[in-house]
């Protein structure tokens, strides 16, 4: 369980407040108008922005001051999710050990992850030799081997076409089901929400609301959300 306790995040003149819990294994979409602070929220959870106040808990552990790599979190960004000079296998291996001193078992895990995302046989390719969709799969394979209970997606598939994006979301859905991972993903598209999200966090007006069940919320949106959805 991920708990945000009276959290405030300030960046420049911008202020965002949040105070809620995300239950283990829930898939949560983070939606809201541009500039409302969706990415800022994820960056703070990931450890890239210091909190202006409040506490961040993972179960009973205070992770407010933990460095990004030490959090129970795997994260994918809008871009630069792979090192272009390293092979796909090495990129994924970094998710197991950052010094890449991999045991034979580790190598096996990399291979299985590649197979699971449909990239078997591509281990030695460089990211530049893969298509956009394949690159996303490779990044997901790394999330898989990282084996963290929480996964944050900051629109990593934004540059893909609709069909490919849906394919990726389905893959994300299946992977988090299998791992019982807690998923938080930023999105603009209500369709995406319907596709995989259990809950929705609506970010607007300097506040990130507590997660609401997705179906009910989309059926019957409050005025602010209604305005956003149009």
């Amino acid at each position: 369980m991920l708990r945000l306790e009276d959290v405030t995040i300030s960046q420049g003149g911008f202020l965002l407040q949040a105070d809620f819990e995300v239950q283990q294994g829930r898939k949560t979409a983070v939606i809201g108008p541009s500039g409302a602070g969706k990415s800022t929220l994820l960056a703070a959870l990931g450890g890239f922005l210091p909190l202006g106040g409040g506490k961040l808990w993972w179960n009973d552990v205070d992770i407010t001051d933990a460095t990004p790599g030490k959090r129970p979190i795997a994260m994918l960004f809008q871009d630069n999710n792979l090192f272009p000079h390293l092979s796909i296998a090495k990129n994924i291996g970094l998710g197991i050990r950052p010094d890449l001193k991999l045991t034979p078992e580790d190598h096996l895990r990399v291979e299985q992850a590649l197979k699971r995302v449909g990239l078997a046989g591509m281990a030695d390719r460089k990211p530049g030799e893969l298509s956009g969709g394949q690159q996303s799969r490779a990044a997901l394979a790394r999330v898989l081997v990282q084996d963290r209970p929480v996964v944050l997606l900051d629109e990593p598939f934004a540059a893909l076409g609709p069909a490919l994006r849906h394919e990726m979301l389905d893959l994300v859905h299946d992977l988090s089901e299998e791992a019982n991972a807690t998923l938080l993903m930023v999105t603009h598209d209500p369709q995406d929400v319907r596709r995989i999200a259990d809950d929705v966090i609506f970010v607007e007006g300097g506040r990130a609301a507590a997660p609401q069940p997705a179906g009910a919320l989309l059926e019957n949106p409050p005025p602010a959300l209604q305005a956003y959805l149009g």
Partner: protein, 518 residues
């Protein structure tokens, strides 16, 4: 409240920067231990300071002034062998000074090629000796650097701008005003400042081409104080003056010095729609021909004399070439060990002031650093076996400012682009170097290593003070040959030196770009 995040590549750069400062300061301390209080600055030394500043300023201005038409012509013309020409034009910068002077004399000397040709067609002859000789030599060395900096500037003008200029059918004068002048205003001051600092510490060049005691530089006065009068206090005082002048010029320069670009990418000519007229083409062709002749003829002269001298070269020269290669390799290793962490440190800081540390090694007199260390080491250990390592270290310090200029900007790019990804993976410390920084900067590292190796192999350095029979370097051996009447064999050694410098540069630069990834 979380603390400010540590850079993923660690903070060893602070230690490396500290090492540089300490290495130089300790050497001054060493001198200070042995120095007795001396006289103040005398009129002759004031004259040396004035001359040093004057020639450095003129050299910087003229180098840049000549580089403008050359870079411009190279930027807008495409011809067969353009890439090779640009690479070759860089050679004078890495040429050992003693070798270069020989070549310059053959071409521009009293009985050199140019004057022989002038005489044949009834023109008055030119004299290379005097202030203008010193400046000519400095322009020869630094024109390649200035041209490279400006060429990079020209190529940074987006092709779209030229397209727009073509669309509006702007005449050449307007192209200059709207596109080229703003660029020059940006790049020229930095290039001039950098060359000014390099020329401040000039020693060997000023001596042979200076024409007499008017052309006395501070570095010569240091040599005299140390070598002839053995007046350490005076040598130290003059070194401080030189350090101060070069250091303050460097500090000013740092704010305006442009980045040193790789040779890669420069072989691409920007597609231009202007400057198509016959006159403009002819002018560009002339400029390129003249520039190439100026920079390449002395190289050709060195090669010609050297080929004749090679058979007369004693076998011992090859052994010293081995020593020089060893010194160059050690210099490269030391340089990278210092420059990479420092570049990492500097590129994670917002202000650029830290880079000034890199200029200390270039501004301080190598003779003084070497002597200082001799004094410090002597009571503890025999300094003679350390002569080659100390030489290598001093050579590395002199290459440091160039290395930082080359490494810092791309390092900053890499660290910005991949900072989050690295942090989220817990990639930091050595693994971050191993898997992120080193592979991403391979081309720049190769370029830096090549430059350092070439500069180091040609440097006489402090080895002359303490050289043992077994520890002579190639430049020293070349001097020895010259000192034993063997001028022709010395020319052979000079050619070997030239070949080694170019080969070292080529091999490392190539290795850096070999199978370059993404």
């Amino acid at each position: 409240m979380a603390q400010r995040a540590q850079p993923i590549i660690g903070t060893t750069g602070i230690a490396a920067g500290g090492f540089v400062v300490v290495a130089v300061l300790l050497s001054f301390l060493g001198i200070g231990l042995r120095a007795e209080l001396g006289r103040g600055i005398e009129p002759a030394e004031w004259a040396a300071i004035r001359f040093t500043l004057q020639q450095a300023a003129l050299s910087a201005l003229i180098s840049v002034a000549c580089a403008i038409p050359l870079a411009r012509a190279l930027a807008r013309r495409r011809f067969v062998g353009r890439g090779v020409l640009i690479t070759l034009l860089g050679a004078p910068f890495i040429l050992p000074v003693i070798v270069a002077v020989l070549g310059l004399l053959t071409v521009f000397g009293r009985t050199g090629w140019v004057n022989t040709a002038f005489e044949a067609i009834g023109l008055p002859t030119l004299s290379i000796y005097g202030l203008h000789g010193v400046v000519l030599a400095h322009v020869f060395f630094n024109l390649p650097l200035a041209t490279r900096l400006l060429l990079q500037g020209w190529q940074s003008i987006p092709a779209e701008r030229f397209r727009l200029a073509a669309q509006l059918n702007l005449p050449p004068r307007m192209v200059r005003r709207t596109l080229e002048v703003p660029l020059l205003v940006q790049v020229v001051p930095g290039a001039a400042a950098l060359i000014f600092v390099i020329c401040l510490t000039s020693f060997a060049v000023a001596l042979t081409l200076g024409g007499g005691p008017r052309a006395t530089t501070i570095e010569l006065a240091i040599y005299q104080a140390f070598r002839f009068d053995f007046d350490l206090a005076r040598a130290a005082l003059l070194s401080f003056i030189q350090l101060f002048l070069a250091g303050s010029a460097a500090l000013v320069a740092l704010w305006v010095i442009p980045n040193i670009p790789l040779s890669a990418g420069l072989d691409r000519a920007v597609r231009r729609w202007d400057a198509r007229g016959g006159l403009q083409s002819a002018i560009d062709a002339c400029v390129i021909a003249l520039g190439s002749a100026f920079l390449l003829l002395p190289l050709f002269a060195i090669t010609l004399a050297g080929v004749q001298g090679l058979p007369q070269m004693p076998i011992g020269v090859w052994k010293t070439a081995g020593n020089s290669l060893g010194v160059a390799m050690l210099s490269i290793a030391l340089l990278l060990a210092i420059a990479l962490p420092m570049a990492g440190w500097i590129s994670t800081r917002r202000a650029g002031g830290a880079e000034a540390i890199g200029l200390i090694g270039l501004s301080a007199s190598p003779l003084m650093i070497g002597t200082g260390w001799f004094i410090l080491i002597n009571p503890i250990a025999d300094p003679v076996p350390l002569a080659l390592p100390v030489t290598a270290l001093i050579n590395a310090l002199m290459a440091l400012p160039f290395a930082l200029r080359i490494l810092v900007p791309p390092m900053r790019d890499v660290l910005t682009t991949y900072d989050r990804l690295s942090r989220s993976l817990g990639l930091n410390g050595w693994p971050a170097w191993r898997w992120l920084v080193l592979p991403r900067l391979r081309a720049q590292i190769g370029f830096t290593a090549g430059l350092t190796g070439a500069l180091s192999v040609g440097d006489l350095g402090v080895i002359a003070l303490f050289a043992d029979p077994d520890r002579a370097t190639l430049p020293l051996q070349m001097y020895r040959l010259m000192g034993a009447y063997r001028t022709e064999a010395a020319a052979g050694a000079a050619l070997l030196l030239l070949a080694m410098a170019l080969a070292l540069f080529w091999v490392f630069d190539k290795a850096g770009r070999w199978h370059a990834e993404a």
